[in-house]
């Protein structure tokens, strides 16, 4: 399903500059899980909407989380409401979007030295929230997961699952588009034109091309997650948000079949989640000043490993591929405090309270409850619009889209082995993504031509996610992009540098052992051999040679 491009309605001149204006009923700002989920919800209710995203799908927390579909057991002590929400939403999602979910099951384990009181209270608390938690005999637990420490003191089985947030958002978006919604990427909202206590127009800037455009909509929904405060401020509304960065580590191998949680009061380094062919370990909670500052750090990496190795010793010695981080927006409802004590429940704000009648903000929450957040938001939107169609996302299955396919771990290699075109060849060796798959990804994103193509390909597939972290495949795919005429001049090289630079953010915190060898090789290649760090536009001498 191709993503459709602009629907040009009318051109409005402003002085000498012609600015395109788009029109829709509902403008959704932000293309994360909530935004795409909302677009689909509204589309299912027959409400035309346009989703505008500053960068690309899941650029915020939706692209930097654990990929965990919580059973809710983690919150039974701290936030019963959240726990129950997780349980209910988890069940719904498993039913309507099974293609995005691997129902792995989960364990809660405590080791020697953990708070035994918490362990003792756990079962009771789970019962109170009606969250299934079955106690396991320690031997049984270790049989299920052989890598668990031999110093366990308690183990429970719960209904956690692993979810692919990229596939989820891409499938949501695809379905929304199929139902008539529209979307634009590389659209950063830079201002609202106000009037009569409403937002009249939203002004957008394409950061990659420098072009601007406007959108006129009846309702504007701020689904920008961590950036909600910044965007709301553009409309004169005030939301206090605490930015909590959380880092996660990706291991080369999938270490466990199930999700493994630490059975203690929720804190850092508690969870190991399987993600297809890898495992993801996290997380941390570091307050940062701006959501754009979010990146994983060496200190957090070490902290995570040192803490988590108690429950799974091999975490101290296994090979990590990379780290990543996402920002949690925590809406302060009173005193500011430690990020964990602020509620993880979501905030749905009708800015009528700020005298902006057609502006709504939805932020906070967690991936597991995105559908509920979208539902509540859509309810509020429809209420304002006078639309009576009910929400159907509780039961309406989410169709699997082509767009989301290539993010599935193991899909590319399996398809290479089983249905291969003999003229094809592999461009990303680590994850065995072939040239044809990459071409089909490019075909399905016509609006992306010439704009951070490598990054877009990376987002829609597993390119660059393997051990080489884009070191080798980046070069090969760049060559291919040039061959196909998708990039010209030095554009390909620039994008390559951006791509590698981007992957570096996640790569640099785990550079010891084998990743260090990989990084050494990467720098030897890019800098030692190819001189790519040098600025080729400032030659201070020409390359003349006498024979």
């Amino acid at each position: 399903m191709n993503e459709s491009f602009f629907v040009v309605c009318c051109n409005r001149s402003e002085g000498a500059v012609k600015v395109k204006t788009l029109q829709t009923r509902v403008l959704i700002v932000g293309g994360g899980a909530t935004g795409t989920g909302l677009a689909r919800d509204l589309a299912l209710r027959g409400v035309p909407c346009l989703l505008a995203e500053r960068r690309d799908i899941n650029a915020g927390a939706s692209g930097g989380n654990h990929g965990l579909l919580h059973s809710g057991a983690r919150y039974v002590a701290s936030d019963m409401e959240a726990a129950v929400e997780c349980r209910e939403e988890g069940a719904i999602l498993k039913a309507v979007a099974p293609q995005c979910i691997e129902d792995t099951g989960g364990l809660f384990v405590a080791v020697q030295g953990d708070d035994e009181q918490y362990v003792a209270d756990f079962e009771g608390m789970c019962k109170k929230s009606r969250i299934p938690a079955r106690q396991l005999d320690l031997g049984e637990a270790r049989e299920l997961e052989p890598l668990l420490s031999d110093k366990l003191i308690s183990a429970y089985a719960v209904e956690d699952a692993a979810i692919d947030p990229f596939m989820l958002s891409l499938d949501n978006m695809a379905h929304a588009l199929a139902l008539g919604a529209q979307s634009i990427r590389n659209a950063k909202v830079i201002g609202f034109s106000m009037g009569n206590g409403r937002i009249q127009r939203a002004l957008f800037l394409d950061e990659t091309s420098g072009e601007s455009f406007e959108v006129e909509a009846e309702i504007v929904v701020n689904a920008t997650g961590a950036w909600a405060g910044i965007v709301a401020a553009l409309a004169g509304a005030d939301i206090h948000i605490l930015y909590s960065s959380g880092s996660l580590l990706v291991t080369q191998d999938r270490l466990t079949k199930r999700v493994v949680n630490r059975l203690r009061k929720a804190s850092d380094s508690d969870i190991l989640v399987p993600g297809g062919t890898v495992s993801v370990l996290g997380t941390t909670s570091v307050t940062i000043d701006s959501p754009d500052d979010c990146r994983p750090t060496v200190a957090e990496t070490d902290r995570i490993i040192e803490d988590a190795q108690a429950m799974i010793p091999i975490l101290a010695t296994t090979r990590y591929i990379r780290a990543y981080a996402g920002v949690r927006p925590l809406v302060l409802l009173g005193e500011s405090g430690d990020a964990r004590s602020v509620s993880r429940g979501f905030s749905l704000i009708d800015h009528a309270r700020d005298n902006v009648d057609n502006f709504i903000t939805i932020t906070g929450g967690k991936l597991t409850t995105f559908r509920l957040m979208a539902e509540k938001t859509a309810d509020m939107v429809c209420n304002k619009l006078g639309v009576t169609a009910p929400c159907v996302t509780r039961t309406e299955p989410l169709p699997a889209s082509t767009m989301g396919r290539w993010t599935e771990p193991g899909l590319a290699p399996k398809s290479w082995v089983r249905n291969r075109d003999e003229a094809d060849l592999i461009l990303c060796e680590c994850e065995m993504v072939s040239r044809n798959s990459i071409d089909s990804i490019i075909e399905n994103m016509p609006g992306m031509r010439g704009n951070s193509m490598l990054k877009a390909i990376g987002l829609r597939s597993r390119v660059g996610k393997g051990p080489c972290q884009g070191g080798f495949c980046g070069l090969r795919i760049t060559g291919h992009l040039y061959d196909q005429g998708h990039v010209s001049d030095e554009q390909g090289l620039t994008e390559l540098k951006t791509f590698v630079g981007r992957r570096w953010r996640g790569f640099s915190p785990v550079l010891w052992g084998l990743p260090m060898v990989q990084a050494d090789l990467q720098e030897a290649l890019y800098c030692g051999a190819l001189d790519m760090e040098l600025d080729h536009n400032t030659d201070d001498f020409t390359c003349e040679d006498d024979e």
Binding site: L427, F472, L475, G479, D483, L525, G528, M532, L534, D535
Partner: protein, 422 residues
Amino acid sequence: MTRNDDIYDVMVIGAGFAGMAAALFASAQGLKVVQTGATGGIDFSTGFIDLMGVHPIAEGKRWQNPWLAIEAVIRDCPKHPYGLLSKDEIFESVDTFTRFLAEQGLEYVGHFARNTCSVTPAGTIKRTYRVPKTAWNGSLALGKKAPTLIVDFHGLKGFSGTQLVETQKHHWPELKTVRIQFPGGHGELYPEHMAWALADPTVQEKMIAAIMPHAVDVEYLGFPAVLGLNDPQKVVDHLAELSGKHVFEIPTMPPSIAGPRLRAVFDRGLPSLGVCTHSQKMVTDVQVLDSGMFEFSVGTGAAKLSVTAKKAILATGRFFGKGLQAERKKLVEPVFDLPVVQPEAREQWHGQEFFAPQGHPVNSAGIEVDERLRPMDASGRPAYDNLYAAGAILAHHDWMRMKCGAGLAIATAYKAVKELMR
């Protein structure tokens, strides 16, 4: 375990540029040399020999005259290993090294006091000191902006003629490209296999026949470096003859054959100079005997053997070569457990940006040596009287950013052998 009962004058640990150079220089001095090393850096080399290219790296300032660059570096970074050598020694070492390569059929060329420009497979321009003769015409064509055809092959990944043309189109408008089918090859192609095939004159003829219709207006033909594995000059000459054009090679992305070519030269040449080589083996342990001599355990499993030597040169490279190991909290040197000069904590190893011009501090970490190239212990004295170090393992230089890798390896190896002889 096999005991090798000979006692060698010097054990060269490492089979990269520094190790190969050390073995070469030591045997030329009449020493009884034994060498071990695994495949590491040399197989990934572009085949170019850098001497000195960029300083200060934070500014990305490139130098035309490497000797002036070396002077500047030594002035600004007194601990740089080049500071331990005289310019004559540096030149002598590179010259001897390249003469040996030429004797073995792998000739290198370049200017005395000027770096040579060469186009890379990424489309950037690299400045280096010595290039293989088979690549020389490329530098000439680049300098003259001559009409040139880059020949590309279906199925060869990581080499795109279009990329070269596009990135160079403003500087070198007469650069063109054509992509042809490699004679007798389909699907995914690998440089080494293509090189084997191209040793056959019939294949060369077929290839030229397919190219000629596209090469009407050009003077130069550029190929990815697949023109024969062991005698590339012969292939290049024949192709030039067949086509009537000047022919050159451009290094490919790894797995390129530039490295294997160099390694083949040493595999052939060193034993004929009397060097006892144990290929594909690493030193796993070293004992210091009462006499002060070293007894090395080499290799694992059934192929394990023990080697005794009076002196040793540690030329084990950096992380990729396994000369330095990065544990989660610190860097270590695995063979002798020598102290490694390094940033205080892992947090300081790397910068936030990969391409940050100032480079990453961890790349200047390494073994600190005295003026005789002997690694120092924690107190600042040589750890062993009879142990020397050479090459990328040395601290206080960033070869990847300064563009001084091969040259520094060869020169320090030369000096280490000289010091060892005293």
